[in-house]
Symmetry: C2
């Protein structure tokens, strides 16, 4: 049978590519520390789980296409607490941040249109772009300077007639970079000058360390018609399986267009929205604790990496990922080695090869992404195993 | 700001277009019987709700992209009970039937490619086709013969180099038609001859009356690589807000391609899948009862319509919709009249204008779709109100 070109060209998720090796490792009795995916171990708040435990409805019915009214009405208070001023009508609830990303691409791009994205970037953007026949134009960021945003002229050089938007992820997955007011302001100026959209995936908004403060693109009022925020409760409340996200913009005409797609797919999961609404009553001390916990883990990972000869990385100020350059030729080969040919006390670690996060062929080949989503003790153990694995790999490969 | 052509060309859902009128009617104190949407009043099975009530997990985590393993492993027994032989690896769990429809279009069509669909058809197909830049080529079916499938040559005349698939919905939304073994066999021959896909939305599989039997396209083994079934638990278990569907096919290469899209969006809602799995243990007497109940309602609606002068309809053998031709020039005007200018004992009904289900300009203008999703008493009352409203409308408009 024949398949479409767009689906044939779509790559398998590089993060999930090593799964068969980890399954085999577990079958062989090894314990595998999963540093490869952003599935936090933090418990989902009891308030959210209690909504399910206490449901009294008789029918799990459709909700409105733009999301439950009560949830949309409650959300602006949460955003206000983060310095973001929005109204219920600026918010369309989506089935996860993924859907919001896909909706944004389809609403602002026709097939063949281009979006500029700093690389390394969230690897699933490749899938959404292929689904929507949108071309991703990457712009390089570098491990040496903590993957900070390129200078404005570097963006401007990439803008063509087909460019429709700049996409950023802030705090950044996979790099952990957090963009400053000044950097974001420069981006806002560019989209303003060239009449582009600025789309920001801000799902890691809460995870910012060392007293840094997250700045939302919605805070730049002069680009209010051009700014789209992609949001999700997955990481915020450790509720990845809920699949509740949001498409947020002050551009009402855009939202009316996006609503048409939302109507076609009817609605996001009803009970999960009720559960997400309950999360809004959670005290901010919840985030203080969670962020403190992630900060502690980050320090463990960063300090451990600093003590491994030949490893290069910067301390990431946000999200719960760190990109590290390893003293190996090919980090994917090394990640496979760890799963297949190595163990220490019958344990090993699973890493996400960095190359999958880059668009440019060959870039990031000696980098890995480490998600610090395990408790401190496990992270300490995992980093020790990584160090030992690396030593042994170097010896065996005469590096 | 500029928006994409595809989103600008996308129509608002015609079913939801009248919502402002119904909201106003309710504000004015009128009771509105909703015959316009397929939201059943049947209670969701207790077994499904109990899964939520009894959750013991601490983290609502990501599930596998292809769906929970235990759910996929349990599903083949359900399908076998419906005469459909599939294995777990033939099933990819989707976030509702909507997602399965979108996935199918993207996987088999590139922008500009065509799919043939008998009209009237499920109106949201227009939205998915626009999102995927696919052209819908409609083929007319007629109220006089109960919207039965056109003759094979009528399909063949529409096939071009760009035709990639024939889409059907069986039992049909909005017509209630159920296609026979012979009719489906003719379609199977066509897709076989022209190397096309046959995609069947079979979400109303259980709702077949008068001793009729539903035939799945998966039962035609010689087109096993060409057959895709779109499924959903929304109607089957009255769990529309769960958003759990499935993409089912024996074509493993196709499923591998679709999995790439599934991986990009990570997973369907986790708890809702656990709940859907619990539904599989429900005794078949559940369906006997539910189908009996819908059958009773259908008879009420059909008999009532037969007694209104000038109304044309056939008794639908499946789903829970009936298309009726009314003695009015424009059924949308009449539907608005019912909400805006009419009431009987302070009650009125909301209908779905038929035109929205047709692709051909002007077709179905005097038709409505009635969803018989309310209990017998309400349906009887609603049909009485419809009759009175029609009489008054005809008088006032001198029809």
């Amino acid at each position: 049978m024949k398949y479409s070109n767009r689906i044939t060209e779509m790559q398998e998720s590089p993060i999930r590519k090593l799964v068969p090796y980890s399954l085999q490792a577990k079958k062989n009795g090894k314990t595998v520390y999963h540093l490869n995916i952003g599935q936090p171990d933090i418990t989902t708040p009891k308030q959210m789980l209690d909504v399910f435990r206490n449901i009294s409805l008789d029918v799990i019915a459709y909700g409105p296409s733009q999301g439950l009214e009560s949830y949309r009405e409650a959300l602006p208070r949460y955003y206000a607490s983060r310095g973001i001023s929005v109204n219920p009508e600026d918010i369309l609830i989506t089935t996860s941040g993924s859907e919001a990303l896909l909706f944004s691409l389809i609403a602002i791009c026709d097939p063949g249109d281009e979006v500029i994205i700093p690389q390394p970037y969230y690897t699933n953007m490749n899938g959404f772009a292929k689904m929507a026949n949108v071309t991703i134009v990457p712009i390089m960021t570098n491990i040496e300077d903590g993957f900070s945003l390129p200078a404005p002229h570097a963006f401007e050089e990439l803008i063509t007639e087909r460019t429709k938007a700049i996409y950023i992820c802030n705090p950044n997955n996979p790099t952990g970079a957090v963009y400053s007011q000044t950097q974001l302001s420069a981006l806002a100026d560019i989209v303003n000058k060239y009449d582009l959209y600025l789309v920001a995936d801000e799902v890691y908004r809460e995870f910012v360390y060392d007293g840094n403060k997250h700045v939302s693109i919605l805070q730049f009022k002069y680009i209010s018609q051009k700014a789209i925020v992609v949001d999700s409760i997955s990481k915020r409340y450790s509720a990845c399986g809920s699949r509740i996200g949001a498409f947020v913009s002050k551009n009402q005409e855009l939202l009316n267009h996006v609503l048409k797609m939302a109507q076609a797919r009817l609605c996001p999961p009803t009970l999960e929205q009720m559960s997400a609404e309950a999360a809004l009553s959670i005290d901010d001390s919840y985030f203080t604790n969670v962020t403190h916990e992630y900060g502690k883990r980050r320090d463990i990972v960063y300090d451990s990496l600093q003590n491994i000869p030949g490893v290069l990385c910067r301390k990431p100020p946000g999200a719960f990922y760190i990109m590290a350059q390893l003293p190996v030729a090919n980090a994917e080969d090394f990640a496979i080695y760890l799963l297949k040919d190595f163990s220490y006390n019958n344990k090993t670690v699973m890493l996400a090869p960095g190359e999958g996060f880059y668009h440019t062929e060959g870039a990031g080949r000696n980098e890995v992404r480490i998600a610090y989503v395990l408790n401190s003790e496990s992270m300490t153990d995992a980093m020790d195993i990584l160090r030992q694995g690396l030593e042994k790999y170097q010896l065996e490969n005469k590096l």
